[in-house]
């Protein structure tokens, strides 16, 4: 068959020429670098579902709140165990420890132009309690409820606010909780003017802004972009940047490529490999800080094997903490075998466990399981959880413990965990506020182990019945002497290390890769202490 098809060739060449033309049109502009007064940050913020401080509880939302809303007191970023006044100029505690009086700094204004008064402070805190969303417990744990909050938290003068707790808690505990986002100060006049059906502005504030922070929220386009702008009405040092734009980019490699090219100034969701590669880059500097987030593997004591204390202890000897720390979580975590992350009052650095297969075998034999046993673990299919679980699977096998991995998506495995239907679970827990009780409350307290309990902390999820430890945790928040309080937490952690069904693996380190011409950024210990308002670009 004679084949001369010049027409095909011609058409193909034509198509090729057309596409070359199209490509040449699309050449990226020479000045892809970002403007000097704008910081562009790549951050995966698909966890944000609201911008209302009374409701926002997610990590990314925390960062936005921390930059846009002021609160009575803040953590000193350089010295997280100290507090500095934010909206409050000074504060005093009554002799019985139940009444806190705050003096509001005069001359502050909201972004709307309204002045910040004691009325706004009282309103904000009352509103959080009245709306009773997920983070409200941070305040209601001090005895506030819908009936009494307007009496217990009130403005006693134009610039004075008093807060009356139901018991005399440790003042450090109360003040630490007031640094949380749920205690952010919102503009009463503005919020109430947007009220609909008596909702205290809830529907409006979900996607809008009513704060007095150094920066204001310009726009939140879900899963695309969040834009902050300098708040000119903020009292205090002028914010160097005019604008901070957060771009939602999920892929670490994509963030890295853009950072290397200078199309973004900061990358926040990098994998250890990408951090490693960027550390060698002259144009990029790395900033890393331990956060209040812990990774752990837990054992459900409903499983009869885990009800035996020797078995629980044996499992703690079947993880190669050191190897994991040096490889799988390098740059993004550090080994920590306690339920309090470093930086919190009372955190312990004691790390008695290391990989010891023989010891584990001996313990298992003592428990009547010399040949090991079979068990499942529910695992999120993300890193580094998956890597750690696979490594654990291998080392546990050496002692005869055969672990079957059940992979699943985040919310999927979480739903199973919350229903106590797991054998083992690998997960993380982040601090809700910067006080040791945030973790003690969930790891070391289990007031009711029944299936229909009113409170379901992590200890409950793993069916760990601990009446004694619960009492100790309750006592620790009432202890007003800081030294004594610290000792109580160290004591609790010693008990926890030995007997708990939790294998504490590591503390998270948050890492940011930043262009070398960006100054003043330091990652803080909590999500709301990643301050952008001190950042500048050269």
């Amino acid at each position: 068959m004679k084949n001369s098809t010049p027409l095909i060739t011609r058409r193909l060449l034509g198509a090729a020429a057309a596409s070359a033309l199209v490509l040449s049109l699309g050449v990226a502009p020479a000045w892809a670098a970002t403007p000097k007064d704008t910081l562009v940050v790549a951050l995966a913020f698909d966890d944000i579902i609201t911008m209302d401080p009374a409701e926002a509880f997610e990590i990314s939302a925390g960062e936005i709140m921390g930059n846009t809303y002021d609160r009575l007191v803040r953590l000193d970023v350089n010295e997280p165990s100290k507090l500095v006044g934010d909206v409050a100029k000074a504060w005093t505690t009554s002799a019985d420890g139940k009444t806190f009086t705050f003096e509001i700094n005069p001359g502050q204004k909201f972004a709307s132009g309204n002045a910040v008064t004691a009325e706004d402070v009282a309103f904000s805190l009352q509103r959080a309690v009245l709306l009773d969303k997920a983070p409200a417990f941070i305040l209601t744990q001090f005895g506030f409820n819908k009936a009494n909050v307007k009496d217990k938290i009130k403005a006693t003068g134009p610039m004075t606010v008093t807060i009356e707790t139901e018991k005399s808690f440790a003042s450090s505990f109360v003040l630490n909780c007031l640094t949380a986002n749920v205690a952010a100060i919102v503009d009463k006049q503005l919020v109430m003017s947007k009220e609909a059906n008596g909702d205290m502005g809830y529907a409006w504030l979900k996607t809008n802004y009513a704060g007095s922070g150094p920066m204001k929220l310009r726009e939140w386009r879900a899963n695309e972009v969040v834009t902050l702008e300098r708040n000119d009405n903020h009292l205090g040092d002028k914010v160097p940047l005019a604008r901070v734009i957060y771009r939602h980019i999920k892929e670490s490699a994509s963030q890295r490529l853009q950072l290397e090219k200078g199309d973004i100034d900061m990358a926040r969701n990098l994998t250890p490999q990408d951090v490693e590669a960027l550390s060698a880059n002259k144009d990029v500097k790395i900033n890393a800080t331990p956060k209040g987030s812990s990774m752990y593997i837990s054992m459900n004591m409903k499983n009869p094997n885990f009800a035996k204390p020797e078995v629980r202890e044996a499992m703690k000897y079947l993880i190669d903490y050191a190897a994991i720390g040096d490889t799988l979580i390098k740059h993004i975590g550090v080994v920590n075998q306690n339920f309090l992350p470093q930086g919190l009052l009372g955190a312990s650095t004691v790390s008695p466990y290391k990989l010891d297969v023989d010891k584990a075998k001996a313990l298992l034999a003592k428990a009547g399981l010399p040949n090991g046993f079979k068990v499942t673990i529910d695992m999120r299919t993300v890193q580094p959880q998956q890597g750690i679980t696979e490594a654990f699977q291998q080392t546990a096998k050496r002692a005869g413990v055969e672990i079957e991995i059940i992979p699943g998506d985040g919310k999927q495995t979480l739903t199973k965990y919350r229903g106590r239907t797991h054998d083992m679970y690998i997960g993380t827990w982040g601090a809700d506020y910067w006080d040791p009780h945030t973790n003690a409350d969930t790891f070391a307290r289990n007031p009711d182990n029944a299936d229909d309990a009113k409170a379901k902390p992590l200890a409950w999820r793993n069916a760990w019945a601990i009446p004694e430890l619960t009492k100790k945790a309750d006592a620790a928040i009432m202890e007003r002497d800081t030294g004594k309080r610290r000792a109580m937490y160290e004591d609790m952690q010693a008990d926890f290390r030995k007997n708990s069904p939790f294998i504490m693996v590591s503390q998270t380190i948050e890492v940011a890769a930043i262009r070398a011409n960006v100054d003043g950024f330091k990652i803080g210990p909590t999500s709301d202490t990643n301050y952008m308002f001190r950042v500048s670009k050269r």
């Binding site: 509880f57 997920a134 983070p135 417990f137 899963n223």
Partner: protein
Amino acid sequence: MKAVGRFLVVIFLTYLGLLAVTFVIGRVIPIDPVLAIVGDHAPEHVVARVREELGLNKPLWQQFGIYLTKVAHGDFGTSVLTTHPVMEDIRHTFPATLELATLGILIGAGFGVPLGVWAAVRRGGLVDQSVRVMGLIGYSVPIFWLGLMALMLFYAKLDWVGGPGRLDVVYEYTLTPVTGILLLDAAMAGQWDAFRNVLSHLILPASLLGYFSLAYISRMTRSFMLNELSQEYVIAARAKGLSETRIIWRHALRNAMVPLVTVITLSYAGLLEGSVLTETVFAWPGLGLYITNSLQNADMNAVLGGTIVVGSIFIGLNLLADLLYRALDPRTRAR
């Protein structure tokens, strides 16, 4: 008239079936929808209260009934994750996917069909084999790998195209989206530098999707063309003295178009569904990411809304394909 009526009934039943199945399965999947709203740290009483507010304690058929009633009034519910009405979210994310998929299929079919014809005509030759191998690479290599490699080469090293995202930051607030299809919006506003910028960001992911569909379209074109070229009418046409070119393009390809149209519309529909991996690598806020993210959080209003849209795409494109068959090939018309 009766035919149209029957047709509409069938379409309605399809949507109903799709919604019912998705709804039921959505309620039995092992993800607690309340989790996405209140988070893992919320106290029990808040969880219980939100569950009640969402109507999750009602029996399944009642929940479905409530949903259908709302849909009948045009209310597809609000997305838990974005706080916006679902249809508004989709009006926002679908144009991004539409832009990408349309350019992708134009590249895929525009190159794929001629390449397939060429491979069929020069069967067994070097062209045939190269098209095969090139196609197979495009089809069997994971798209995230291709995407990242392409980004590394064309964006990071060669600087020929824009990076992840639809636009450079500079244009974020200077280009006002009207239709959501940024190329159109920029052209209508006369902002040609923005147009070039959007194109530079669009070309790489679109080419990737195009390459992916080109692989499949070229193989199928080749197969259909081979079927046609072995028919008697081709021999007869040659005997009559018709030129080879005319035979191939005017006759054989025309006849191969019927199944080929199916293939192309299927590919297009597949692209319009949104490719999660492509959208993740290129930070493209499209329908794929929206539906997947919603599903992972059991945000059923969003999932159902997305399913309706995807369902409409498939039904619509299939009907279009049917119309095209009748136009192209009289043999396919009903007796």
